[in-house]
Each structure stands twice: as structure tokens, then as C-alpha cells.
């Protein structure tokens, strides 16, 4: 008996119920010509998918049948052995085991090889699928699905395959995703002893006991990364006060080093500010150096993504008064700084704004709050909460955060949030509001080191002490939204 026995020969070897095996042998092994060749052509005419499905089906049944056959054979062999020992061997009558042994064994051996080959080939066939082969969604549908995923998922799914990676890192995809996102996750970027950490604004800080330290690809050993500002998911940082500026997307890790502004090193105070101007679809970075004494000129320059160069600011850099090194607060297309021109609390306070489109300074009206023991004690610290320019107004018993509900309209200043006093004496300088969570809670840094969350009534919901480093010269934290946007490109 030849191992590749023709089907007729096999038929005589294999008794009863194994016709299925017989037919499958025909399908898989070499087919004799004519009748079977026709069948073959017919099969090829069907879609390739049908063929695949059939193979899987045949494969599954073959495997089962072989197992059954092997089992039956084993049983019979054992029976024969016992009978033989008892001298009742019926070898020649029933299951022709010896003949089978040679022929079938070789047959089975060959089948096993075929099965193994098929298995490797159809390894990816999803047996779960009732079609018997994988369902592939068209790529345009996959892109629509991707567009509805949050940035964190998208950054992770870059790993899925090279095709997905190139889809997700495409700037057009990033723009679509950013524009269409129904919710943009807010995250906190906080400079700490162990590096820069990123936290979810919405989650309790105590839950994120080990928030990841972000890899800051350009950070130099020992240098603080000073955070200047963020918008559209891009964060502007500086390694020194007036040079080594980087635009960095913490979500994707992409960054860009800006050319040096060429501003002199000796200064008294520095202003920085980073923002996006939708009217010109341009990102701008402002750096200003205020020098002492007033006879020396102050210097200020603005970098624009579209211009890709620094431009000198000619007007508006008059004495900034008593101000700290500060990062401009972006709101309504302008950067803002809070300054006090002289000791008179009533008239000396100003909010100076820098319009990013026109690259000019202007003034923004302060809230008209009553000063005095029943009114406010001091006003400090500009911030942007919920897209409104805000100030901290310290009363005698508590602090209030006031927001300008309508930009530029002095009457629209109104209290938004209340903050109780901490253990230390009241001073707005100790509170640095970062953002409002989706539920309206205030997230803020206290004394530059503690991270706290409070509700609009002033109740402190949680406070994590010693979260950051205590270096008051350096800005410790900012809020940023997650995005895939590139630090090189504008939105359109």
C-alpha cells in the first residue's frame, strides 16, 4: 500500500463512518485529474474567502476525525493485545490493524504534515468568527474611530502597527482630532524634585500616588525647567530666563528648540509669555527684560511660528513697577501681567495686556472693589480659570477669586470662587490657581509646594503637601490640554 494511496485503496482500508476523512483526503492531497480537476476550477471560481472558509472547516473536521480514528485504533489495538495474550486473537477478521498500521500510519503522518502547514498558514484565521476568516473594517472607518479616542489612548495605540502609527502621527489627523474633540482632557504639569510630572486634573491627587515622571527629552542635568505657559497642548519652557526656549508637547514628547532671542543677560526682571492667536493662526512667544535703572532701555522681543524669527517690541515696555518674574497669562488672544506701579493700592495696580495679533500692549481694567477693612486687603496673582481672566482678592477673613466674565468689561468682574485661609498669614502670593476641573473645583498650588483642590465654597477637598520643589523664582506648574499637535505647525 502506498502512503499516498489513491482514494479507492484508502476506502478499503478505512472502515465505516470515515468517508469524511476519505473526501478530505481527496481535497488536500494530490487530486487525480479530470473529475476532480473540474471541482478544483469551480472552487477557484468562488471567492477566495469561500475557499478559505472551506479549508478551515475541512481542517477542523480532519483534525477531529484523525483524533477519533487514532482513538479507535488505540482501543482496538489494546483489545487485540489482550485477546492475543488470552489466545483469542482475531487479527485477520475485524479491524485490519496490521495492514492499516503501515498504510494508515504513513497516511496519518502525511496528514499531520499537511495540517501543520495549513495551521501555520491559517493561524490568523479567527475561528471565533462565524465567517471563518477575519473581518477587516475599511480604513476610513478606522480613522473615524481613532478620531473619537482621547489623546492618551491614541499615544498608546501608536504601538499597534506601523500603519496606525503613521495615521496617528499625521499632522492633519492631529488637527482634526484637536478641533473635533468634544472633551479635551486637562492635565497638570508640575515641576518636582523627581522631575516633571503629569497628572490628571479630574482624578484625586492621592490616587495618583506614582504619577509618571515625564521624560523631558531636552532637559539638562541639574537645570530646572521653567514653565512659561501652555496652549493647545503645547507647553513653552525655558532652561534659562532668556534663552534656551523649547516648545514641547508632553503628550507626544515632540519638541522644538527656538532660536535664541539675543536679549542681553543682565536684567532685573523678566517677563515671558506664550500663546496662540486664532485670528492669525499663529503661536507667539514674548520675552522681555526690564533693566535698572530706568535710564537704560528695556528689551522685548516676540517670536512668531509663522515668521519663524524674533521681532523687537518698540513700545510699551515702560517700567513694570513692582512685579515678579512672571509668565504672562493667556486669555482672549492676549498675554497679561499684573503689576503695581507704586505703593498706592488704589491707583497703582494695573493689568497690562499684550495683544498677540497686533503685538501691542494695552490695558485691561481692574475690578472696582472697595479697599479697606471691610473690603479687600490686597489683590494678587493673575490666572486664567475657565477661559476667564482672574485675580485673587484677599479679604480680611478669606480670599476670593474674581473673574472677568466678559473680557474688557469692567462691570463684569465678579467673585467666582472662595478660598479659606491657610495656616500661614493671608497673602495672594501664596496661592497659584492652576485650573478648574470639569466639576468646577479649583486646583491650585499653595506656597509653591503643596497641591490642593477646593470647591467654590472654599472647602479644601484635598491637599497633598510637599508635592513640588520650593524655589519661588521658578514657575512650578501649569495646566495643559492633551493634544497631538506638533510644536512646528500651526492649526491650518
Amino acid at each position: 500500500m502506498k502512503p499516498h494511496g489513491r482514494h479507492r485503496a484508502s476506502a478499503s482500508l478505512i472502515p465505516d463512518g470515515d468517508d469524511i476523512l476519505d473526501n478530505n483526503v481527496e481535497v488536500i492531497l494530490e487530486r487525480p485529474p479530470d473529475k476532480k480537476a473540474e471541482k478544483d476550477k469551480e472552487r477557484k471560481r468562488k471567492s477566495r474567502d469561500d475557499v478559505d472558509a472551506e479549508f478551515t472547516y475541512a481542517l477542523a473536521h480532519m483534525t477531529t476525525d484523525i483524533n477519533t480514528f487514532m482513538m479507535e485504533r488505540r482501543k482496538f489495538n489494546n483489545k487485540q493485545e489482550r485477546l492475543h495474550h488470552r489466545g483469542e486473537c482475531n487479527l485477520c477478521t475485524h479491524f485490519p490493524v496490521t495492514i492499516l498500521a503501515i498504510g494508515a500510519k504513513a497516511l496519518l503522518g502525511h496528514l499531520k504534515l499537511v495540517i501543520r502547514a495549513l495551521s501555520t498558514k491559517y493561524k490568523r484565521l479567527s475561528i471565533q468568527s462565524h465567517r471563518g476568516f477575519p473581518l477587516h473594517l475599511p480604513e476610513n472607518v478606522v480613522v473615524e474611530i481613532l478620531l473619537r479616542l482621547p489623546v492618551k489612548s491614541l499615544v498608546r495605540f501608536r504601538c499597534v502597527s506601523k500603519r496606525w502609527c503613521s495615521l496617528i502621527t499625521d499632522p492633519r489627523f492631529a488637527n482634526s482630532q484637536f478641533r473635533g474633540a468634544s472633551e479635551r482632557s486637562q492635565r497638570l504639569l508640575i515641576s518636582s524634585r523627581s522631575g516633571i510630572r503629569s497628572l490628571d486634573c479630574e482624578a484625586r491627587f492621592e490616587d495618583s500616588s506614582t504619577p509618571s515622571v515625564l521624560v523631558v527629552p531636552f532637559q539638562k542635568r541639574g537645570r530646572y525647567v521653567s514653565i512659561i505657559g501652555s496652549c493647545n497642548g503645547l507647553v513653552c519652557v525655558a532652561l534659562y530666563s532668556h534663552r534656551d526656549f523649547y516648545i514641547w508637547n508632553p503628550s507626544t514628547g515632540n519638541y522644538r528648540k527656538l532660536p535664541d532671542p539675543g536679549i542681553s543677560l543682565r536684567g532685573r526682571k523678566y517677563w515671558h509669555g506664550f500663546g496662540y492667536d486664532p485670528s492669525t493662526d499663529d503661536y507667539k512667544l514674548l520675552v522681555a527684560n526690564f533693566r535698572m535703572p530706568p535710564s537704560r532701555e528695556s528689551e522685548g522681543k516676540v517670536f512668531s511660528f509663522k515668521r519663524n524669527s524674533w521681532k523687537r517690541i518698540l513700545r510699551g515696555l515702560e517700567d513694570p513697577g513692582y512685579t515678579e518674574d512672571s509668565a504672562g497669562i493667556l486669555c482672549n488672544g492676549s498675554l497679561h501681567w499684573y503689576l503695581q506701579l507704586c505703593c498706592d493700592p488704589l491707583s497703582g495696580q494695573k493689568i497690562r495686556g499684550f495683544d498677540l495679533a497686533e503685538e501691542k500692549f494695552h490695558e485691561v481694567p481692574m475690578p472696582s472693589v472697595e479697599y479697606g477693612p471691610r473690603g479687600y486687603v490686597c489683590i494678587e496673582t493673575l490666572s486664567n480659570l475657565g477661559e476667564r481672566l482672574c485675580l485673587i482678592v484677599c479679604m480680611s477673613t478669606h480670599m476670593e477669586i474674581w473673574g472677568m466674565m466678559e473680557y474688557g468689561v469692567i462691570e463684569s468682574w465678579a467673585p467666582m470662587h472662595r478660598v479659606g485661609y491657610f495656616r500661614v498669614e493671608p497673602s495672594g502670593k501664596d496661592l497659584n490657581p492652576l485650573c478648574l476641573s470639569r466639576g468646577g473645583e479649583l486646583v491650585a498650588m499653595k506656597h509653591g509646594i503643596d497641591l490642593m483642590r477646593s470647591n467654590p465654597d472654599g472647602e479644601i477637598l484635598e491637599c497633598v503637601e510637599d508635592f513640588s520643589d520650593c524655589d519661588s523664582r521658578v514657575c512650578h506648574a501649569t495646566m495643559f490640554v492633551e493634544s497631538l499637535l506638533s510644536p512646528y505647525l500651526c492649526l491650518t
Binding site: 479616542l149 489612548s153 498608546r156 515625564l214
Partner: protein, 187 residues
């Protein structure tokens, strides 16, 4: 085999004299579908409107759609039309609008919960073929929700994608963006 349950629902919603159209699926299913529901299938709508055909009770064979998928599609579209009508009726009344919205969200959550990953994909293919914008958007959102917090391996299996990154390349992406791999649902 016409799904009597669906037809009863369809009949209950529509008026007695609504025209229906017969749709046949590739696996031998036959469905009598109300005209408003059938017109949600843009592939049918353009067939009638573009060709200027009279909407008579002809039978249309849908080559890429199976019984199970079509019955689910009809179910969703019928309910979507109902919700649309209720929403329009409730316009102006904030409470009523909210109730309709919640009812719809409840139905959609239940509808999608019952679908296996496989079925979800089958439905997307069917709905994409039939060109039903609203339902396609709903299914796409459902897939996004299903996979958003899953691992890379799960997503590969879901979309049946082969990993063509080397282990080193994959490792690098992992390390550079470790934060994105935190808090992911276990497989």
C-alpha cells in the same frame, strides 16, 4: 425568514397605510420594512430618488447584508426615528427633552451592550454598505468607547492587525510615553 417581532414593532409605530418595501438578505432572510425606515438607508434612498423610480413593493436583494445584521439595523433605525419624533414633540420643554435624551441613551447603551465585538464589526460593515449615517456614527462611537482604555494587544486582536514593529521599536514607544500605558484595563 421575516422577523415578526420587528415587523410588529414597525407596524405599531407606523400608520396602517405606510408603504413597505421587501428586503432580502444574502442568507435568505426576507424583511418587510417601512418606507421611512428604509429611506434611512441612503443606498436605497438614492436608488429610488436618483433613478426616479416609483416606490412600489418590489423586492430588493442586499448582497452584503445578513439576516441578523439587518434585523438589528431595522431595530435601531426604527427606534431612532421614534426618538427623533419624540424629541421634536418635546422641543422647548427642557424636562421633556432631557427625558427623551435619557431614554435614548438607555436604549443605545442596552443595544450596544448585547453586541459582541464580532457583531459590532459586522454591523459596521453592513451599515457602511447601506450608508446609514446616524447609525454608523453611533456604532463608531461605541467601538471607540469599547477600546479606549484597552491594551495594545486587545486592540490588535479586535481589528485583526498584525504587529509589524520589532520588540525593540515597541519598547521604545513604551518608554517614551510610559504615562499613556498606565491604568489600562487588564485583558
Amino acid at each position: 425568514m421575516a422577523d415578526d417581532g420587528v415587523n410588529t414593532k414597525v407596524e405599531a409605530v407606523s400608520k396602517a397605510t405606510t408603504e413597505t418595501i421587501e428586503l432580502r438578505t444574502e442568507d435568505g432572510g426576507v424583511f418587510d420594512v417601512d418606507k421611512p425606515v428604509a429611506m434611512e438607508f441612503l443606498i436605497l434612498k438614492s436608488f429610488y430618488e436618483d433613478e426616479g423610480r416609483v416606490f412600489d413593493k418590489t423586492s430588493i436583494r442586499l448582497p452584503n447584508v445578513k439576516q441578523l445584521e439587518l434585523s438589528k439595523v431595522i431595530e435601531y433605525c426604527t427606534r431612532a426615528l421614534e426618538f427623533g419624533a419624540k424629541s421634536a414633540a418635546a422641543a422647548g420643554d427642557k424636562d421633556a427633552e432631557r427625558m427623551v435624551r435619557q431614554e435614548r441613551e438607555g436604549f443605545e447603551a442596552e443595544f450596544v451592550d448585547e453586541l459582541s465585538n464580532e457583531m459590532l464589526k459586522e454591523l459596521i460593515l453592513a451599515v457602511n454598505f447601506l450608508d446609514i449615517k446616524e447609525m454608523l456614527d453611533f456604532l463608531i462611537r461605541s467601538v471607540a468607547n469599547r477600546i479606549r482604555n484597552r491594551s495594545v494587544a486587545y486592540v490588535r486582536q479586535f481589528f485583526d492587525i498584525e504587529n509589524d514593529f520589532t520588540p525593540q521599536e515597541e519598547d521604545q514607544i513604551h518608554q517614551e510615553n510610559a504615562w499613556a500605558f498606565e491604568g489600562v484595563d487588564a485583558d
